[in-house]
Amino acid sequence: MLIRLTIALLRRLLSVIGLLWAIVTLSFILIHLAPGDPIQSLVGENGGASPEFIARMRAEYGLDQPIFVQYWHYLAKLCVGDLGYSIRFQTPVWDLFAERLPATLLLLASSIVVFSLLGTVAGVYSAVNEGSFGDIALRIFVVLAFSLPVFWLAQLLIYALAVKASVFPVMGMRSLFIRGGEWTKAVDVAWHLVLPATALGAWHMAVTQRFVRTSLLQVLREDYIRTARAKGLASQQVLYRHALRNALLPVVTITGISFGTMLTGATLTEMVFNWPGLGRLILDAVLGRDRPLLIGLLLISSVLTIVVDALTGIVQNMLDPRTRVGGTG
């Protein structure tokens, strides 16, 4: 049992390392092949920098070396956890990442938690009230939420609720001239979070609603549910004590799967709402051909996705004995 578990873990670890190496290598090659020069971006937008200045900057960042030498140096540093120096910001990539990650995590986490809950509640409502007006309305919402691109929905929310109704702020993570204690500031951040989290979470809510509804309808037709009802248990008891636990398993799965998509969506959402997270940093890295920063961000995003995938597996194991290694299938 223990040996089988160890082998399974080692196999997983090796596949993760291989995947990360492939991401780094492919990114390195693609960025190198893309036209554009990080040093030209660095010296400014008006150009005219002296050849000596450009040559010195190129040497400083090792860009005068052959591509294989640059790649080898990068890999060697990566092995000791050094993601290198951002060319554009002239700061360690780790520092930039640490600076911007909290804002992205706040946006992602709040969006996932709130809209997973809302999607679940909506899914349960739809399943229990199958065919009702509420169910049909929710299903129409799901189709819309699936179809609307995140950046378009974001613009729509800004126009309706920030510009026209003036209920929420258009952009940013906090008010510019806010005075007050920590509680006031926390409320202010939450107020700024509503629109971007909604734009990002609408798709996830739709997916969750759809899965919960389908799953719950399936469970409610199972024999053991019929048996529970035959025993005279109240509908509420049947639903919450027997059906829901099994029906909610897909929520864990879909949240794990959604993470990668939402990470991409967060980039677009952050652009539209001027949210100070990793999204805008990625755009700056692409436009500035900042290879260390871009590869570092891709790598970190990949690791985050892998970690979330692993956590999803663990939670699934805890909730469903059938998914455990050596468990009953």
């Binding site: 150009g47 005219g48 910001f89």
Partner: protein
Amino acid sequence: MEMKRRTLLSYLAALPAAAEVLSFGSAAFAAEEGGNLVVGLRTSEPRHLNPAVTTVGGVQLIGANIYSALTRFDMNGTPVPDLAQSWDISTDGLVYTFHLAPGIKWHDGKPFTSADVKFSFEKVLLPLHPVGKVNFSAIDTIETPDDNTVVFKLKYAYAPFIQLLEVRHATILPKHIYDGTDIMQNPANTAPIGTGPFKLAEWSKGNFLRLEKNADYFKKDRPHLDELVFVIIPDTNTMVAAMEAEQIDFAPLGVSFDLVETLKTRLGPKGWVIGTASYLFRGTGSVLFNLDDPTLCKLEVRQAIAHLIRKDEILSTVRKNVGKIADNPISWYVPNDQTGVSYKPDAAKANALLDAAGLPKKADGMRFALSIVVSTGWAEYEPIANLMRDWFREAGIDLQIQKMDEAAAIDKMFTARDFQLGLCNPSFGPDPAIMAKGFTAAMVGQGAYTNGMGYKNATVDALFDQGVKQVDPAERYATYQKIVQAVMTDLPVVPLYEDDFAYAYRKAFTGLPPGGTHRDSYENVEKA
């Protein structure tokens, strides 16, 4: 014999005005002290706030409020006192003596002296500013006879010198903070200590920068505002929404020319002023030719292309009449009617020229194909290229459009020089001598906005050498007029339009600088 400042200014005033005087704001308001101004900047997040080591517009714009230079520009592009309260120039143009204003302090309370000026030029601007070596190579020695006097001795007369001493090109840094350190890595680059009207109070990375009033500013009763906030907003739609929701008060780099009419309708009734104006360092939208291309190296082909382009149509349909037609790369200095060569739209003449070049039409009516590099970072380039494609077809030229982002387009045109035609917007100012970076043989393929065309003309090179050293305004003008005539005869570029800028600000403020690429502090801004 010395020429006094007044004399200097009078001859500078003889130059054609490089910017319209913009009376931003209305005199109808009674201004009040204090208040906040929120400025939306459509740029990337600055990596630091040291304008002495970069040419990035956002850093210059923010830095102009934190730092000072020996001079500033007034709205007409004339140098006026800043750290230097007056200056003298020797009649041979070789010695510049600056008299510094007394009692100036750095933000940390230390006194500002002539040693800071000498240090900034010798240790920062010359070796580290991207164009420092180009701008200040004429400097021979810098002397500091006392704390309030700086004397620049030049190797040769260098007319643009006085125009290059403002904050965009010659920010003065504190010697006591930077001396003996790695300038590029000094923590003060992100926590600046300047002599300017505002101090950095908070930098919320990726979010905003908050500056607060410098109570010890050396100009009495300035600045008027208590706080100045710069919000970095790269997305145009977000910028417009923030304007409409009144989350920002001023967008100096934030309004695209094609939005002007829409914004007038949407924001005009809400107390916004939307307009367009010329600015000091305006660019010239241009078509570049790669002269190493076997087809484009023929002058008749370039002339034919010039005759196929309808600049008035570009200005009216694409640019929405924001800007002016340009017939040479420095039309702000040498007016269009003085260019000496013009290429009027004439498809018949273009066809005749192409026939004469030995490029006849084939059975399908086409002669040859060309490609044009178009940066997606500029709203007007693709529509201009589409118009050109239609016009070129009339003469049997199949124009293929190559779209790419700004970094790739710059690399293709100016570094790799792997292109046939290209659209770009070079800025040759504040002195006509700056045009040399785009048209001399030494600057071929030297990076962004240098000589990407591969243009080489020994006579033009000699004229550039001559013009940069001339002190007499009339003589200089005659030299640059000859340069323009030679260049437009050789035709390595087709200038299209002067790139005026669009601005937007709330009526509640007065005294705003015009924006565009005009870098100036907001020390005169008042809230009504």
